[in-house]
Point group: C2
Chain length 336, copies 2
């Protein structure tokens, strides 16, 4: 039985919660592990070394061009596993729902989660649903955790990085952040930018399997490419130099950034990876990436340097050099 | 560097987010796995069979007698693992924070999380922090996921349950829900009830190791004892009969329930378990439980019956019998 809107009683833990969980989730996500509906999922046959991650998603609006909070929650968590060299296997799903949310909105998000998980071949095996009063949350927040199998003998780590290594970005930057921004009522750009929101294991795991030359990966989400490169530089105690002219950026994204006066280097992606790879293998890896739809616009954008400890330097199109710092303010709240 | 209040920029993913994560979390939770600050935690040496769970905590108020949202988040997730017969090992922690929350409130919650995790000997290995605008969340919500090692050869399941099995509850019921309720401004009871919020592996794992006669466990959180027993009855297709006079309920909790006109059978516990055990071993198990501070008031409250498919029957103190249904309304929103 469905209701037009979510009631506080849907979060009571009682009869209505059970009905909601069956109707919205179990029916769509069905698999034998989730079907047990125990307090925790029993997972069997995992290797000794696994990856474990979690992310809270508070994106606003919850539907945007190229995705929604459900697709984002699945892809974001998968990608955090993939960055560790792990094949994603299992997800958990915790929802905090605002009383009064339309039932069909929740159904639509659950459809999206279900579709994305099925395409990605991951199982949703455990979950939790809470409902809070009107104005105690904004529509719906989703926290996903994930477990993946780390490829045998593989240890991607910032510690592997050395001067001379090349930096690859797997596609156009800034689309996700701009798609969410342009979906907000107060920012009507006049044209559509589609989020890059996507799961990346289908692109990256085959390349990882083939090339031990891939040393480290991270996805440039909140804070964008600039912040992620700074994190890498700081964690590794190394310098990074990137070429502005090599950074893939679609024409409409460039236009939007100019219109809004924001720097694309700081805008979140949700379907891109930054890879640090051995110099000699960089162009081989690039050419394989470019054969996959998600890697078509992959580029080598720079390299790791010594003598520039923990700094990221941008060689601009104009031939000047500038330091690219980590994001310090918050131009784009609730982008993911 | 700390700020008096949480700013939206603390959730930007940039410089302030890094500072917050270091200052609030990494410093307190420090361990080598978390210290890597990768996109996901690399966990090594786990057995082939693990338990995986997640819970969202939205309790209001965030501090209550006997606990706070941080302690609750750690204990609640540990207990969901323990109910599966798993020794808790690793937790993830995702926070959604309302802009303007006092920094010292967050510190105090992080202290509580850190203290509880240390006492419980679990490691917090990965996390996420998001900040939303004022009035887009209520102070702070915490979602914890957990991984535990399932005891070798052990498979607690509702499928193990047979008529004749005994039902044990490990302690006084209803304290958590009443503690939270009495902490709300509009419900001044005039006396204090302390939440039973506690992690249960120290009580239960040794007993599980000793007794294969323990067939199934579940913690009666949202919806209370009545709802949990109904879940067990429905999942197992069996009847359950409980004796009102045997259900442990402290005098102050009984008084509070009478004052508020609510049924203690529906009030959440956060440090109790319901165990279904073989009849012949029930009193041995009970006597071991009662030697532990968390099991001092454990009681055998009833038994599994046939011929009463999926119904829970209460033999009242007055000598009458009534059907105890699952919770159908929501008397106590945001109890966990």
């Amino acid at each position: 039985m469905s209701y037009p809107k979510i009631l506080l009683s849907h979060g009571s833990g009682g009869r209505l919660t059970h009905a909601l969980i069956q109707d919205i989730f179990v029916r769509r996500f069905k698999n034998p592990i989730l079907g047990e509906l125990s307090d925790s999922a029993r997972l069997d046959g995992l290797p000794k070394t696994i990856a474990f991650t979690c992310d809270a998603f508070v994106v606003s609006p919850i539907f945007f061009s190229g995705g929604d909070i459900g697709k984002l929650a699945v892809c974001g968590t998968i990608n955090d596993l993939v960055m560790q060299g792990a094949v994603p296997e299992y997800l958990s799903l915790a929802l905090i729902i605002e009383e009064g949310l339309e039932y069909k909105v929740l159904e639509s998000i659950a459809d999206s989660i279900s579709r994305t998980a099925r395409l990605a071949r991951v199982l949703i095996v455990t979950g939790d649903t809470k409902v809070v009063e009107k104005n105690a949350a904004d529509k719906v927040f989703i926290t996903t955790s994930g477990i993946g199998r780390i490829m045998k003998g593989r240890h991607l780590s910032v510690k592997n990085i050395e001067p001379g290594d090349k930096i690859i970005v797997t596609g156009d930057i800034a689309c996700h952040g701009l798609a969410v921004l342009s979906g907000r009522k107060d920012l009507n750009l006049g044209f559509t930018i589609k989020s890059d929101c996507a799961f990346l294991h289908t692109l990256l795991i085959p390349v990882l399997e083939k090339y031990s030359a891939i040393k480290f990966m991270r996805d440039p989400t909140r804070g964008g490419l600039a912040t992620t490169l700074n994190e890498v530089a700081e964690a590794g105690g190394l310098g990074i130099t990137i070429e502005e002219g090599h950074i893939p950026l679609a024409a409409n994204a460039r236009a939007a950034c100019e219109l809004l006066g924001i720097d694309p280097l700081y805008i979140a992606c949700e379907g891109r990876a930054i890879m640090v790879v051995e110099k000699d293998k960089a162009s081989d890896i690039l050419s394989i990436l470019r054969r996959h739809p998600l890697g078509r616009n992959a580029r080598i954008i720079g390299s790791v340097t010594k003598g520039l400890r923990a700094k990221v330097i941008l060689n601009t199109r104009l031939g000047t050099r500038r330091i690219v710092d980590m994001l310090t303010s918050e131009p784009l709240p609730r982008i993911c």
